[in-house]
Assembly symmetry: C2
Homo-oligomer: 292 residues x 2
Amino acid sequence: MRADGQVRLRIDLAYDGTHFSGWAKQPALRTVQGELERAIAMVVRREPDEVTVTVAGRTDAGVHATGQTCHVEVTEAEVAKLAGRHGSIAGAARKLNGALKRLDAGDLIIHAVCIAPEGFDARFAALSRTYEYLVSPRGVPVNPLLRHCVVSLGDEIDLDATRTASLTLLGLRDFTSFCKARDGSTAVRTLIDFTWAKRTDGVLAATIHADAFCHSMVRSLVGGVLAVGAGKLTVQRFQELTAEQRRSSSIPVMPAHGLTLVGVEYPEDAGLAARAAVTRARRDPLAPQALG
Amino acid sequence: MRADGQVRLRIDLAYDGTHFSGWAKQPALRTVQGELERAIAMVVRREPDEVTVTVAGRTDAGVHATGQTCHVEVTEAEVAKLAGRHGSIAGAARKLNGALKRLDAGDLIIHAVCIAPEGFDARFAALSRTYEYLVSPRGVPVNPLLRHCVVSLGDEIDLDATRTASLTLLGLRDFTSFCKARDGSTAVRTLIDFTWAKRTDGVLAATIHADAFCHSMVRSLVGGVLAVGAGKLTVQRFQELTAEQRRSSSIPVMPAHGLTLVGVEYPEDAGLAARAAVTRARRDPLAPQALG
């Protein structure tokens, strides 16, 4: 407990984004944040609008998560309500899942709840985020059980060409070609990893790991390298488009439902506060990077 | 084309069983057979009740399929309508998927259509069926993206014990303990394979392969061996229950939504008619088999 009597809880959760209008709360729409805050309020007996959670990755409508993280502030007395009769805050996941079930929100599941370590902030202390994107290329039988999280493509995909294009994007660079920078912010990000695997069922799975992502960036990155894999762009033309640093219609934004946030990475406890301080300071715009 | 002017088509398909009341057509209920017959009728321009498909595995309500097979009789003129302007019957899958989309049945997908070889019968020529059953044991984070096809268990599962129990069931035997034999039929089946794999996401996947299954047999087989894996039954007690050859409440029937028909196996073309003749002849009831 801190001097102000508040306790910060870390909540790890997962959701099927199909029937949510994204993470962020919006009036009259069903959102992940809205349902989660209602469930917490139900257990600690506050009004729903008196609970605010802060999240690592604000996912768009239709985007899923298997490894999302957020935090929320509660009082000592509320910690006891969340812990229930077993007295351990770990039991809060079960209580919250019960509340979500009563809210008919079985598409949102709490995996773990714990007292956050000193300096933890779900958003600002995060070092990086990892997303997965799933596509079923032409020629692979579509599995109707996965139609809500795998995108069916009309094209066959050359995996080697897709991988080559993906590798050209790694490192610290300006990703303006893949996401419009908002006023007062930059599209400079560090892409740590962008790999492709072919699953035994024929589905192609991209893993995209970066310090942070700007709006629709993952879906444009995947759209760009799949355009190369489908033979619609050469690697050279793709690199030219990337260097132009403006949105191009040759780099399509892929549908939301193929995308899943699979993990958020944090430093060891001792480094949490330092990381949050660094992230909060606005990034310096970097000069455009040469490609290749 | 046969002397009667009819052509038999083989149709390979897949479906998410969540919103179907099973395979078999029933008045006023949404069934896989019903939707498929409507789609075929739409393309060949018959009334829906003038189309009848015959299936390899009549799945229950909520059970899925990624590798189901059926057949249907059409005329030469209807083959042309199904083939469309490209003139190949392989194009019929695309036409039928278009019709299914117009029927708002995106949970049912046609993988392939072909002229059936001489002697082919989706039901009677099948040598065997393979099912998969998916469970998420206690301690494995539940993935909400898979909640419609993976059953969450309250117990941790000892995979070695589960495998040992599964192996005791292999071979030709009377499976009455796992399925009530209907009048005039027997519960004698050959269980060819019953294996368990742990996926990278922690989900346990059972593969169950038999010449045929009686009603609710797969779900009882899985329920029985998981009772052993959860420590609720010893392998010895499980074998005793199996030998008793009557349904026992200690062998639970698992929920339908964990079950998927993944494949139907047929002989080479030359053996099709012979296989169908053998299967049509009613199986001789065998004397109960000793276990072990």
